[in-house]
């Protein structure tokens, strides 16, 4: 997962944007500072980006650019304000391919609010579970623990960069939520099954919603 980076050059080639645009977006805080990852390569130091995040973000920016000024865009992208009002029905979620039907039918009832609608936050939790499920890392039952963890603790970490760790020891599944960057050291028998940055998920989910 951590190695899923895209170089600046590759990004520009793929998306067709120019250096100037990229730097302008950085100045306008359309692209967060943390996404600029410096790594040394054989040609010297190069800048890399988290592949999924940056591609989703560039697509989002390019799609919205014509309707909004860059400053408006910045405020739109930097927070979840625009999305916090969102309420979707189960049907709409499955139809728009945001969360798969399986995850929806298993976890949906436990998460939904009274009227059978889903808020952005609830949707995010479902999306997290769905992502791990679809990778084949997590069983359906373990997903329930994940959802409980998220429901209980994700609120405390809203607005902060935060990572979700999924570890197993002797078949027992454990979920951890930690503000990033953090370094965790486990004992020998522990296997880190998955590590997901919640910010990544938020970004992908926003891309799917807009």
């Amino acid at each position: 997962m951590e190695d899923d980076l895209i170089s600046k050059k590759e990004l520009l080639d793929l998306t067709g944007i120019s250096y100037g645009q990229l730097y302008r977006w950085k100045r306008k805080q359309l692209i967060p500072e943390e996404w600029f990852i410096r790594k040394s390569t054989f040609t010297g130091q190069e800048t890399f980006f988290p592949r999924m995040l940056i591609q989703a973000r560039v697509r989002n920016i390019l799609n919205m650019k014509d309707d909004l000024s860059l400053d408006e865009l910045a405020s739109r992208l930097s927070d979840t304000e625009g999305f916090s009002e969102i309420r979707l029905t189960k049907e709409a979620i499955v139809e728009r391919n945001i969360v798969t039907e399986i995850a929806m039918s298993v976890y949906g009832p436990a998460v939904e609010s009274k009227e059978g609608l889903y808020s952005f936050e609830q949707l995010l939790h479902l999306y997290a579970a769905d992502t791990l499920l679809s990778k084949g890392d997590m069983s359906l039952d373990e997903g329930r623990i994940l959802l409980r963890t998220l429901e209980k603790h994700a609120g405390a970490l809203t607005g902060k960069p935060c990572e979700l760790y999924f570890v197993r020891k002797m078949g027992v599944a454990l979920f951890l939520l930690a503000p990033s960057p953090v370094e965790l050291y486990f004992d020998e028998g522990v296997r880190l099954v998955a590590k997901v940055a919640l910010g990544d998920l938020v970004e992908q989910l926003k891309g799917r919603l807009s």
Binding site: K9, Y19, G20, Y23, K26, R27, T43, G44
Partner: protein, 233 residues
């Protein structure tokens, strides 16, 4: 030394004349003439300083004018900045507009929409600007430069200056950076490892290891280029 505004809800001004010090805080106007020391972070609408100034903290202001030597022990956030003299920032610089006449050094990144003027600069991080137009009178240094348009010229070409530049490297009017990236790059007297751009002009006195360009490249016969690559379509 300080003048409290009587009206409640109105921000007061901070005025230092002569030698004096003051605490930080939020003000409407900060006017310093002489030797002034501010012991904490400052937020102000207008910041004008003449002389020697030290601010032990951050500075956030809309309009800034400095004549003299200023030391800032924290990041600087400013809208328009006019600098005559020397400014040293122990952090990053973010702003819209900077008119430089002198020297600016920053420990962090520098993000400006417009950066123009005469003088030198040292940016230890990334220098990110929309339009950058510099006539170098002294060394220009940045770890990395990312711009939309960049024009670099040598400011003063007198013999005396060139002699001094030969003796004291700091006075050599050259731009040095590891990487320069942008859309339109018009360079003279520049040393860089990599220059990447859309339309690139490598002028007199340049020495670049690798040039990558998309649409066009013009090279002065006196310039030295290690390798040139045309990228994209």
């Amino acid at each position: 030394m300080t003048e409290e505004d009587k009206e409640p809800g109105h921000l007061s001004d901070l005025i230092i004349n002569g030698v004096g010090s003051a605490a930080g805080g939020t003000y409407d106007k900060v006017l310093i003439d002489g030797v002034g020391k501010v012991e904490g972070s400052l937020t102000a609408r207008i910041f004008k300083a003449n002389g020697q100034i030290r601010v032990k903290g951050e500075l956030e202001t809309v309009e800034m004018e400095v004549n003299g030597i200023m030391n800032l022990e924290g990041p600087l956030r400013v809208n328009t900045m006019k600098l005559d003299g020397i400014l040293h920032v122990d952090g990053g610089v973010t702003g819209e507009n900077c008119a430089l006449n002198g020297l600016m050094t920053a420990k962090g990144d520098c993000e400006l929409e417009e950066f123009r003027g005469v003088g030198g600069f040292t940016i230890e991080g990334l220098l990110n600007a929309g339009r950058m137009d510099i006539r170098l009178a002294g060394a220009g240094q940045a770890h990395e430069i990312g711009v939309e348009t960049l024009k670099v010229r040598q400011g003063d070409k007198s013999l005396w200056n060139r002699l001094l530049g030969g003796i004291i490297p700091k006075l050599k009017s050259e731009l040095t950076a590891k990487v320069i990236e942008g859309d339109d790059l018009d360079l003279e007297y520049t040393n860089a490892d990599v220059v990447r751009g859309n339309y690139v002009i490598i002028g007199v006195g340049c020495s670049v290891e690798l040039v990558e360009y998309r649409t066009g490249l013009t090279v002065h016969p006196g310039a030295r280029i290690g390798k040139e690559v045309k990228t994209g379509d």
